[in-house]
Structure formats: C-alpha cells, structure tokens
C-alpha cells in the first residue's frame, strides 16, 4: 500500500522516496519526511493503541509530542527496542519496525477491553476501597493481577547496543522553540551579534510555519520566509541550530538541559554516532517560544479512533499530504478549527458539519467557512459518538442556556476534528520558578513574573496570531541583546483566531452515565474528576493523584486545563482559586542512558591505580575495591589456592621479609609556622614537641568524640609534616583540615597539600627488611641505633630522593620507602631484586589485615564504626591530657561516652581453633539466646592465622576488658560458637620484633 489517503501534491514529504516499514508485522509504505503516524494515517490506519485502564481502541489525538494515545514500540533488534514512543515523533526510515502495545491477543481484538464493561464498578480510586480481604490477598492475589494488567509497553530484554553522548555549552541567548516567535527572536538576537542557540523538538525548524499554506510574511509566502530565515541563521557563524532537540529541564541560574535525537531517524546510522546527545547549556538570557497546545473537547466517547484535534487534522494534510478522513464533523469552540475545515474541504474532505459550541461565531475564519459554503451550526454540542475501531457518527445536539444539550442527531462521519481552543505551553517557564497568572480573557494561565533572566514570547504567553508572535519574538530577541525592537514584518492572510472552551462540554442527560475523557491515556473521565471532589479531594493535587489525571506519559499537556475547569466547577471555585499542579521536569520523557552518558563499567567511576599496579597485575595479584582504588589482596602462584597464598605471604613476611604496595595510603603535606599547633588541635595526640625526624601515630576524632581516622605523622622540619591517613579517608581528612583551618582557626598559618598520588609508598617488613634496603639507600644511616622505630629521614635510594620512614603495621621491623610516583616501579623492582636474595615475598591487603590483627592494631572502619571512642579501643592513654583542647575532647566528657559498660575491644579465641567466626557476628552470653536477647557486642575482625595455626578474632564487647579470661558465645549461621575472651594481641606481646 502506498497511501490511499494521500493527496497528489503538497506537504513536506518527498514522494520520490518511498519508504517501507511494518506495523504489527504488516508491511506499509510511506515517504521520506513522514512520521510513523502520518504514514499509518496515509495508509488508512487510525487504530494505533489501547488505553491504560479500559483498553479502549485509540487513534491519533495530536500530531506532536503531546500525543497520549498512539504509543508504540520501535526496533527490530531487542538491543535497540524502545517502548512507549509516540508515533507522532517517530520519523520514518527504511525498514522501521513498530509494534502496538498493551493489548492481547491483538490491537483490534483486545480481551482486556472487557474492563470497559465494568467501568461503573471501577471508577477513580476504586482500588483504595477494595482488595482488602482476606488479609494477605492483596500481595498474593490482587496485586500480581493488577501489575500484569498495568503498564504500557514492554521493556527491552537485551543490553542497549547504542551509545550516548553528553555536551556542555554556553551561549548569550538560548531560544526554545523554532516557530515564528522563536525564529524572529533568533534573527533579532543573531543580528545583534549574540551567540545564539536555537532548539526545537521537531525534525524541521519552523513550528507552525511548516503547516502554513496561506499566510505571506514580509511579502513572501510563509514557506519562503522560513527558508530565507533558516538560511540566514545557518550562515551566521555564532548561531547554533539544533532541531530534534527538546529542552526538557529549566534549572537554576539559566541552566537548560536538552535531549537531541541524533540517529534514531536513520536507517543505517554511522556506528560512531551516538543515539542521543544530552545538552547541558548555560545561557545568559533565555527566550521561551514554546508555543501552545490545542485542547480537546470533553464530550462522551470523545476518544474513538478518527477523533482528533482540529489543527492536527489540518497539520497532517499540510505537512504530510494526508487526509485523515473522507467525511468530517468539526466540533469546536474556537475559530482555528474553521481554518482546518476550509483546508480539509479544499483537499476534498467532505465537511458534514461545523458544530460550534459558541452561540455566535463571527470571526474572519468562520466567515470564510460560511462563504465557502460549509454548513455551520452555532450553539451546537457533540453529545456522543458511535463507532468501534473507528468513529462512524457524531451525535450533534442543540446547546441549551442551562448548560445542558438536547438529544443528539446522528451524523455519519469518519473523522471528528475538535478544538476547545489553545493552552499556552508554560511548562518550562513554570520549571524556571516563574509565577503564572490566570488571564480571564484568554481563559489560560500565562507567564507573569520571571524568576530568571528569561522572557516568554509568542503563543506560550498568549500571543497567538502569526503577526503577534513574530513581533513578540523579535522584541524578545532584541531585548535579550539589549537592542531596540526591530520594525514589525508585514503579515497577510493570517487573521487572528479567537474563542475557547474549558471543561465538560454541555451534556445530554446524566453526565455520570457517560465516558467523556479528560485524560485519554489514563482513561480519566469527567465523572472521575467530579467523583474525586465529591469524596473530599479539594486540592488539585489530590484530584490529580486520586484520579491519575495528568499523570500519564504526556503529563497532562492536553488534559490539565479541562480537568481543572471540571474540578473548579464541581468545587464552586474559580480556576485560579483551585490552582495548578506543579510542572515538573522533564517536559517530555528522557532516555536514562542519555542522562548517564558514557558512565558505564570502567567509566562509571574513575579507577585509581597505584604506580605499582601494573607490576602487581603482572605478578598474579587479585585486586579488590577500596573506595576508588584497586588494591592487591594477595598474589596467587600457579597451583595455589587463596588460603595457601595468604599463608605463604604471612609466614614469609614474619620469618624473612615481605614487600607491600602501600601507595594508596592518604598523604597530606601540612606546612606552616602553626602546622604543629594545628595538628595538636586536630588529633588526640600531642604534636607540639614531636622532634624533627620523628613519627607519631595519630588518632583523629570527629566532633562527637568518635574515632574517625588514623595514620602516622612525621615531622620533617619545624614547620613541615608528612601526614598519612587511611586509604579511603584521605579526601575527607584534607577537606576537614581545610574546613577547620578556614572556619574555626583562621588565625593559624598553615597550608595543606594532598600528596597521595605524588608518592609511591613501598612497605618492607620482616626481620630481613634492613638487609634488603641497606645496599640501596644513600645518605641515611638506617641502623637500629641511628634510625629507631617511628622515625623518618630524607635521603636517596638508587639515586632517587626518598622519604624513608621506619614504621610498622605488621609488628615486624618495618620500613616505608616514599619515592616520587614516576620512580615507583623502578625503585620497587630494585628493592625486589635485593629481596629475592633474602627470599622476600610480596604480600597483599588480606595478609596485611591478618598481620596487623595478630598484633591487635585496629583498622578504622572495621574496629570502629563511628560509635567507638579511643578508650573503647584501649587507646585512651594516647590522649594528651595536658592539651587544652582537641577536636572531640568536649564530647568525650558527655555522660554516655564516659559511662561504665561501654563496648571495649577484646580478642576472641574460638574454642574450635579451626573455626573462623564471621565478621559482624554477634557476641552473646547464652549458647541458645532467646529472640530479643541484647547482644554483648560484635566481631570486628576474624581470620585464620598461619603464624598461630589457628583462628582468632577481635570484637567490641560490653565491659569487655573486665571479661578477659572468661567465655562467651558468638552467633554463626548454624548456631553459636564458644569463644574465650582474651587481650586483643596475639603475637609478640612485648613488641621485641618491632624494635629489632
């Protein structure tokens, strides 16, 4: 089929380029320039969808992004399938595959349409009143049924094959909408020399001018003026034209977000092209020229396929050369539908009748219609329709003065083109936090007070006539570049259109007995809205939520004003008294992936790798997550399992020597005459008298008195400290330092520099550590006498400057070599070569955790959880009591932090020496604790120790230190395990190895 309903000429399609496509498996042909909607209409297909609740057959209501009915799934491959697309926005390409949705077994025969028969039993909110008994039936019976029935399209089952791009842009003037007002604004602003960005959701720029056949602008046919205007704008180097780009969000400080459809309309796009592009634009000035939406009339059965908005019917003819019917009834309360009637008649559509709700219709358009011989009835209402999958009759009746209407006369037709008038599109203005006002003359909300550097122009602020829109747009564009408004261009052949009607069309008989749709997609009828008000829903927000009007995928673009009018009448209030619901972003739906952009897999978050990462990877490391870092857990050798690798690395380090990459440790250079005083105030320990060349373990609390971070701090000079932090806490600690320095102690002269990534840090631990380093170090005496535990020296290693520390987190003799990051691998390999001579191992984080736990050293975030004080950890003695203050000191004096019976760190030895307790398991008093038993505490760390040949754990236990020597139980997935409570140190209690 090539299009029975296509006129021979006219429109913006290319009849020389036929395009094949399928809908529900059936093959059709359209033309280049068609949308799926126009091509289906051309082929005589009106039935395109089913409604949400009653599964009513539905056709096109509109021609644009506000379409509520014609939703389809598009895509022949599962990895490119997209549900819920509006057929009016899907551009045709060769091979396009579309399917209808929300029906079974087929679009024309949908069993769930049975819902419509029971509609009087399922009014708005019925589900709040039912499905409550028997208890439990909701989740087991009713909800699964409802969930299956609900929903529109189906989600794709495969991973998305496309990619998406993000762009950031700045401009002087951003113009939203490229209709007459937007184009005039763009011309004025561009001629003023401004950087202009012009956005429009449609494939072609021009808005209503694309369907303008009669008007002349500046003495030229409108199409010629449009072409000339676009040519001028396209030639201007500082103007960016963005068709297919919907600005969907208007944020603070003139920040706009837009979605550009880049390749969905192409049959075989370049795979390098993204599918969509997300624009984030900051504009000095914004001109909103978003146009207006035509409103449906709310009469019974106003939803059958073949009933559409009048300007959409006209538009399908003017834009695509499609006649949407052979015999039309025009139902209107606005002059613009007369224009539609005239143009449809000229194309050969029989106009059975123009039924105008208004008592009089005397504008230029109605006069022209009469002059053309079209039958016009004023004071006439549609009181019903007939037809099933396509409208067959309109029931037209006299409108009475009391607001009702007479019995309808059936008039045969296959198209009802309706117009309740026009609603300015104020969504983006409202998103920008601008204040709306209700215009009594227009019966519409229009922009009143702007909240940002923004101006609305054209139909979106009620300037509907072409001449008004062009002048208003030009004035807005000029104002945006502080220029005088240009002289208005002449416009002929586009008389102003007036009129409009809000709310329920005058009914015949009881309106409670008919279905007059307000929100088409969600099947909300006028009687649902009045029911909501009867049930005490007085706020429009309650009415919306109770009936779901305005909550469909079109977000109420065609329904909100009618719903509001019906509600205000039912409540006996004026429309502004009832008020609008909040306009929320996005203006039209936005693909998740477009917002997410490239952030997937390894690009989801930056991966931080140490300078030694590659070496570790080459040498069999298994990595784990630590914040953004990848850290080596252990280094499995061929044939080894995890346990064997860990045991080998543990024993090797304890018996000989081990090397570890410690580069992830946070490092902060703290410098300044008051550096010592600053650290003195930040940490619980004393730093004022720490000697140059010495290190001290530092414990940091938050203001609530709980342990927050720890690390070793070295004094390199009177005014210079090398501070280390936990790997994950580094960013937080330096932020905190800045915070305190800037807000609490601005008098202190001290500066902070993050040096984490400047240094590669290599830890060498074990009895042979010194032996490995001695041949390589220059200018530093690393003998036990010259360089005791907890000291730092500057010198060279293999000719590279180093900060060499003598510290240990394993309990063995330990050194930490810091070298500039770029030399990290070379130095590591040099030390490793020495290490091989003494049978050194390389060990990972898993091993470090065991070795430190054997010594009872804590890990912040494991032994602590933000509720643990220094004394709880047995580190109370570290607090420099002589200091007048430090962060957290005041809180440590609070009653709860000083009370008896707090949880204290202890060691646990399972009775079964080979049973490893789960970290996080609860410590209890009883072998079979009753439900509701309070735990004594929990296991913080638990390991198998290759050195001890048994398992051990650390735990925080209430009154723990007084329980040492006793027993307790620990919960496991199978039951409880008996444990002995011991001191939290399991190896080399005297610390002799450390000082070797």
């Amino acid at each position: 089929m090539t299009g029975d309903n296509r006129v021979q000429s006219g429109g913006r399609i290319d009849r020389a380029k036929p395009i094949g496509f399928t809908f529900d498996g059936k093959k059709f042909t359209g033309f280049a320039g068609d949308t799926l909607a126009s091509a289906l209409l051309a082929n005589g297909v009106h039935l395109m969808g089913r409604s949400f609740k009653y599964h009513r057959p539905r056709g096109l209501l509109t021609m644009g992004s506000e379409e509520p009915n014609a939703l389809v799934g598009v895509g022949s491959q599962e990895s490119r399938f997209t549900p819920n697309l509006r057929a009016t926005q899907v551009e045709l390409y060769e091979g396009l595959t579309a399917v209808s949705q929300n029906n079974w077994p087929s679009l024309s025969l949908d069993f769930q349409a049975v819902n419509g028969l029971f509609s009087s039993f399922i009014p708005a909110g019925f589900y709040y009143k039912t499905f409550m008994h028997p208890k439990g039936a909701w989740e087991s019976l009713y909800e699964p049924l409802i969930r299956r029935a609900a929903g529109l399209g189906r989600a794709p089952k495969a991973r998305d094959a496309d990619h998406y791009a993000n762009l950031y842009a700045h401009c002087d003037v951003a113009i939203v909408g490229a209709g007459p007002a937007g184009l005039a604004a763009a011309l004025a602003a561009a001629r003023g020399g401004a950087r202009v960005m012009l956005f429009d959701e449609q494939a072609e720029l021009g808005g209503s001018l694309l369907a303008e056949s009669a008007a002349r602008i500046d003495g030229k046919p409108a199409a010629d003026w449009l072409a000339a205007t676009l040519a001028e704008l396209a030639a201007a180097p500082h103007v960016t034209l963005l068709p297919r780009t919907q600005i969907f969000g208007y944020y603070a400080q003139n920040f706009l977000a837009g979605l550009e459809r880049v390749s969905d309309h192409l049959a075989s796009p370049d795979p390098k092209l993204p599918r969509e592009r997300l624009w984030r634009v900051r504009a000095k000035r914004v001109v909103l020229a978003a146009g207006a939406h035509e409103r449906p009339l709310v009469f019974p059965d106003n939803d059958r396929p073949g009933i559409m908005l009048a300007d959409a019917a006209r538009g399908f003819l003017a834009r695509y050369g499609v006649t949407p019917g052979a015999r039309a009834v025009i139902a209107t309360a606005h002059d613009s539908a007369y224009r539609a009637a005239l143009e449809l008649a000229q194309a050969g559509v029989a106009i059975a009748l123009i039924a105008d709700l208004r008592p009089n219709a005397e504008g230029e358009w109605p006069e022209a219609a009469r002059k053309a011989g079209l039958r016009v009835e004023t004071g006439a209402a549609i009181v019903g329709t007939r037809g099933h999958l396509r409208v067959s009759h309109a029931l037209v009746a006299k409108r009475w003065a009391d607001g009702s209407a007479g019995r309808g006369e059936a008039i045969a037709c296959d198209l009802i083109a309706m117009s309740g008038g026009w609603t300015p599109s104020v969504h983006l203005f409202s998103q920008s936090r601008g204040k709306l006002a209700f215009d009594e003359t227009l019966q519409a909300f229009v922009p009143d007070v702007s909240a940002q550097a923004e101006r609305s122009a054209g139909a979106c602020r009620g300037a509907f006539a072409l001449s008004e829109a062009l002048a208003d747009g030009a004035a807005a564009g000029a104002a945006a570049v502080s220029a005088a408004a240009p002289a208005p261009v002449s416009v002929e052949g586009a008389p102003a259109a007036h009129g409009g009607f809000l709310g329920l069309s005058p009914p015949h008989g009881d309106p409670q007995k008919s279905k007059a749709f307000v929100d088409f997609q969600n099947d909300v009828t006028a009687r649902d809205v009045t029911l909501a008000t009867r049930e005490g829903m007085r706020s429009i927000e309650h009415i919306k939520r109770y009936t779901t009007t305005g909550m469909a995928t079109d977000q109420g673009k065609t329904s909100n004003m009618n719903a509001l009018a019906i509600a205000s009448q039912a409540l006996g209030k004026t429309i502004p008294q009832v008020g609008l619901t909040t306009f929320r972003l996005p203006y039209t739906p936005v693909t998740f992936a477009s917002i997410a952009g490239m952030s997937r897999r390894e690009l989801f978050d930056p991966v931080r790798q140490t300078p030694l990462h590659a070496w570790a990877a080459e040498n069999g490391a298994t990595f784990e997550e630590a914040g953004l870092w990848k850290r080596a857990s252990y280094f499995k050798r061929p044939g080894e399992d995890v346990k064997a690798a860990v045991a080998r690395e543990c024993l090797g380090t304890r018996e000989r020597a081990g090397m570890m990459d410690a580069s992830t440790l946070g490092k902060i250079e703290v410098v300044g005459p008051d550096a010592a005083e600053f650290l003195n105030r930040l940490y619980i320990n004393a730093f004022a008298k720490l000697g140059v060349g010495r290190c001290r373990y530092g414990l940091m609390l938050n203001e609530a008195g709980y342990v927050m971070d720890d690390g070793v701090i070295a004094r390199l000079a009177q005014d210079r400290f090398h501070v280390t932090t936990t790997s994950v806490g580094a960013a937080h600690v330096i932020t905190l330092m800045e915070d305190f320095a800037q807000t609490e102690w601005p008098d202190l002269k001290v500066w902070f520099t993050s040096t984490t990534e400047q240094w590669a840090t290599i830890a060498i631990n074990g009895p042979r550590a010194r032996q490995m380093l001695e041949p390589l170090v220059e200018g530093i005496d690393i003998s036990a006498a010259a360089m005791p535990h907890l000291s730092m020296r500057e010198g060279h290693i293999c000719g590279v400057p180093t900060r060499l520390a003598r510290v240990s987190f394993t309990g063995e003799l330990g050194f930490e070599v810091n070298v500039p990051a770029d030399y990290g691998r070379a130095i590591w390999e040099a030390i490793w070569a020495e290490g091989r001579k003494v049978d050194c191992v390389v060990y990972g984080l898993d091993v470090l955790l065991i070795l430190r736990a054997e010594k009872g050293f804590i890990v912040v975030g494991q032994e602590t959880d933000g509720t643990v004080t220094p004394d709880d950890l047995g580190l109370g003695k570290m607090i420099a009591q002589s200091k007048p203050d430090f962060v957290g000191k005041r809180s440590l004096a609070m009653p709860d932090l000083a009370r008896e019976g707090r949880k204290q760190l202890v060691g646990l030895l399972p009775d079964d020496s080979q049973f490893k307790l789960d970290e996080g398991a609860q410590v209890v008093d009883a072998i079979a604790p009753a439900i509701g038993t309070s735990a004594l505490g929990h296991v913080t760390s638990s390991y198998f120790s290759p050195t001890l040949g048994r398992t051990f754990a650390m735990a925080l236990v209430a009154g723990g230190r007084s329980r040492i020597g006793g027993t307790a139980y620990v919960t496991t997935m199978q039951g409880t395990a008996l444990v002995r409570i011991v001191e939290p140190i399991f190896y080399d209690k005297e610390g002799k190895r450390l000082d070797a």
């Binding site: 399938f81 549900p83 819920n84 009087s120 039993f121 589900y127 709040y128 009143k129 039912t130 008994h133 909701w138 989740e139 909800e143 969930r147 299956r148 609900a150 529109l152 189906r154 998305d160 969000g249 944020y251 920040f255 009881d510 409670q512 009867r534 049930e535 005490g536 829903m537 927000e541 309650h542 939520r545 109770y546 972003l585 996005p586 998740f592 992936a593 997410a596 997937r600 897999r601 690009l603 989801f604 991966v607 997550e625 609530a704 806490g729 975030g861 602590t864 959880d865 509720t867 709860d896 789960d918 970290e919 996080g920 609860q922 604790p929 439900i931 509701g932 038993t933 929990h938 919960t971």
Partner: protein
C-alpha cells in the same frame, strides 16, 4: 461509609453519587486539647492513634498546604525494618507489624506489598557491614538474610552481576518481608480514619507563631487562619521542623537537604522487588502502575529547594544503568525533589522538648515513610500522656547532649 465490594457495587448502581467526603474540611475552632502541626503521614497517623487509642477527640491537625503533600507524597515508599541497633529495630519493627493489617485497620487499601527489599553489597566492607546487620537482626527476630550474587540475581533477574561492573556485586542482604505501599493512600487512609473519629484536619493553615504562658508552657498557636489555643503541640513538620521549633525558641540538631526521586514511563512488570545500593546511591522498584520508581541520594548542600540538581539525578541514573543495563533505553517521565530533615546520627527524634507542652517528631531523613504507622503510634502516646512510649524512649532530643546516639549511618557509611 465502610469501603467494601458491597458499597462499591451499591454506589456503582447509583452512579457513585452517594460517596461521602473522605475527610471533613472544618474551620478551625478557637481551642483544642492538642494540635499536631503537619498533616503528612506521621502527623495524620499521630492524630489517628491519639483519637483511637487515647480517646482524644478534640484535637486538630494543621497543614500549611495540602495533606500528604510533603515527603509522604514524594518518597519512593520503601518499607523495611532491618536496621542495626536495637532501638531502631524496635521502632521500625513496630511499624512493620502495623503495616501488616493497616489496610484492614483503616478500611483503606494502602497496598502494602511485602515483595522483598534487597540491599546490594559491592565490596568486602559492605559485606562485613551487611552481615553484621543480619546477625543483629536474627538475634532480634527481624527477618534478614545473606544472598550470593547468583541468589540475588535469581531473586531479581534484572540485576547485573557481571564481574565487569565497576563495583561488582559481592552479595546482598534480603528482607523478604520488606516492600512498598501506596504513599497517598497512607495519608488519605489516616486522614479519613482520624476525621471520622472527630479529628479536625485543617489544610491551608500555616503556623506563624507558638504562644507560651507565663510559666513558659505552650498556650496556643498563631496561624494564617487566626490564633488557636492549646496546651499540647506535637510538631511533625519534616524539613520545616527547624522553622516551626524556632518559633518556640528551640534550636534543633537538624539539617535539611533536597532529596530527589524520579519515575520512568509505565512498563509491563520487570522488577519484582525493591533493590537498594547505598554504595552507589541507586534505589529502584516498580509501582503497580508499571513505573520504575527510582530514588537518588541527597544534594551535597543544605537547601529548601524542592528541585534537586541534574548532576545528582545523573549519578543515580548512571548507577541504575550500571546495575540494570537493560533499562537504559527506558525514559524518565518525572523528576522531583523533597526536603528531608537529617539528624547527626541519622535516627529520628520523637521526644518531649525543653518547652512544656511542646513535643516533636522529626529527623527521619531519607527513610521516614516506612516508619509512618509506628512513628504515629508511639508519638500519639508521647503527646497524649506526656511520657514516652517505651519504643520511642531512646529517641530523645536530649541524646545529643548525653551522647547516647543511635548511629545508623556510622555503621553503614564509613568505608575503609
């Protein structure tokens, strides 16, 4: 009128002309025995239980906008009770018990749907933390279990457990009895129940001042609809609690942040449960209407703006696309924000205050919806009797002076 199939059928035959209003819209009286400030879920539940269980009928709920219009109507409706500390387990567990049977209690289908809430672990640290919760919960009789990645995928087939993820999934904690409910219905059901018991719910009535007598005790409220005398005030004003309490000179340990949520277009069912990832800030379920309901993290700065930044929604959708790769072509239909009131220990305050007659229920942060029935139930006891219910006794305002914090954030959030 009792809601039932029978009443629905009867009304259907009469064209639904006979439904009464679900709650009255009275003018404020000059005095009440007690006044609740804030007609969200917690405030309405409080009034309902004060009337039902404490026999107080001469009481009112004041609301500056429309009832249920704050965080009650903006949240992602996740209900679970697997918190770490015993006081938390008690209050959320109390609420969880009340959720079962709430539809019958209120004769209003709140659509409580215990379809399971799964928390995703992305690191060894997450695993330690979740297991600690599970062990603590088991001891308290709260349902919570550990799943392997494969078990997690079996429970939620949409979930990506591919090791190529930036933060691979190492397991999950599942509370099978957790789920969701219909947020508006909760507010409306409590409003209808309270109104039927005689409670005056007064919308569009903003509190402008708190009056106190010579002894310092509260004596009434100044409102945009005139002064109202009362000797007991319960403030349940979520993000605006600090503002209201300042009227009585009480400074609250609260910070208010915008919190965003969004929904997709409606789809046929794909998501059988609720999935949460605290690590990468993504929370998703599917409503009965078919929309994917997605929660984000809070903005980084305090604010009263109900529009969050695009960068926050971006982070969330990145995380959603990473965890559920097949949803990436679906589309965001609506995005909104609410103001959440956050305490230093991330646990609520349900307490008397230094001002006699003034009580406060606030600080629920990002997760208050789940507690609605329990919170209202114990706060009703607090306001009606002046003394705390044993369950809310630990949630004092005073704990920030004594240090007896209930730190739910600390145990979960500090990574290493």
């Amino acid at each position: 009128m009792k809601f039932s199939y029978l009443s629905l059928a009867r009304q259907a035959l009469g064209g639904h002309q006979g439904w009464p209003e679900q709650w009255r819209s009275p003018a404020p009286k000059s005095a009440y025995d007690a006044i609740i400030v804030g007609a969200g879920g917690h405030g309405l539940a409080t009034a309902y239980y004060m009337a039902k269980e404490h026999g107080m009928r001469n009481i009112a709920v004041l609301e500056k906008g429309w009832l249920g219009g704050g965080n009650t109507g903006r949240n992602t409706t996740i209900i679970r009770s697997n918190y770490l500390w015993e006081p938390s387990e008690a209050i959320y567990g109390h609420a969880h018990k009340l959720w079962h049977g709430l539809s019958q209690e209120l004769n209003y289908n709140v659509m409580f749907s215990p379809r399971g809430v799964m928390l995703i672990a992305h690191s060894h640290h997450d695993e330690q933390s979740f297991k600690r919760h599970i062990y603590a919960n088991r001891l308290a009789g709260t349902q919570n279990e550990w799943l392997t990645p494969e078990q997690a995928k079996a429970f939620c087939p949409l979930l990506n457990i591919d090791p190529s993820m930036r933060y691979p999934i190492v397991g999950a904690a599942l509370q099978r009895t957790g789920g969701t409910a219909r947020h508006d219905a909760v507010a409306w059901g409590y409003a209808r129940g309270a109104s039927t018991l005689g409670v005056d719910i007064i919308e569009n009535c903003e509190v402008k001042g708190i009056a106190r007598d010579a002894s310092g005790a509260v004596s009434g409220l100044e409102t945009t609809r005139g002064p109202i005398a009362t000797k007991r005030i319960g403030v349940v004003a979520a993000g605006n609690t600090s503002v209201v309490m300042a009227m009585a000179g009480v400074r609250m340990p609260l910070e208010s942040f915008p919190l965003q949520a969004l929904v997709s277009e409606p789809l046929k069912p794909i998501m059988p449960c609720v999935v949460m990832s605290n690590t990468i800030h993504a929370y998703m379920s599917q409503s009965d209407k078919g929309e994917l309901v997605i929660g984000a993290g809070t903005d980084a700065y305090t604010s009263y703006s109900q529009t969050g930044g695009l960068h926050i929604a971006t982070q969330t959708l990145e995380a959603i696309c990473e965890m559920f790769p097949t949803v990436s072509r679906l589309r965001m239909l609506r995005n909104w924000g609410g103001i959440v009131d956050v305490t230093p220990d991330r646990s609520p305050i349900i307490s008397k205050t230094p001002v006699p007659g003034l009580f406060v229920n606030c600080g629920w942060g990002t997760g208050g919806f789940k507690a609605t029935p329990g919170s209202g139930h114990v706060f009703a006891h607090q306001v009606a009797t002046g003394e705390p219910h044993p369950i809310n006794a630990p949630f004092t305002l005073d704990r920030f002076r004594t240090g007896a914090l209930i730190n739910e954030a600390a145990a979960a959030a500090v990574a290493h």
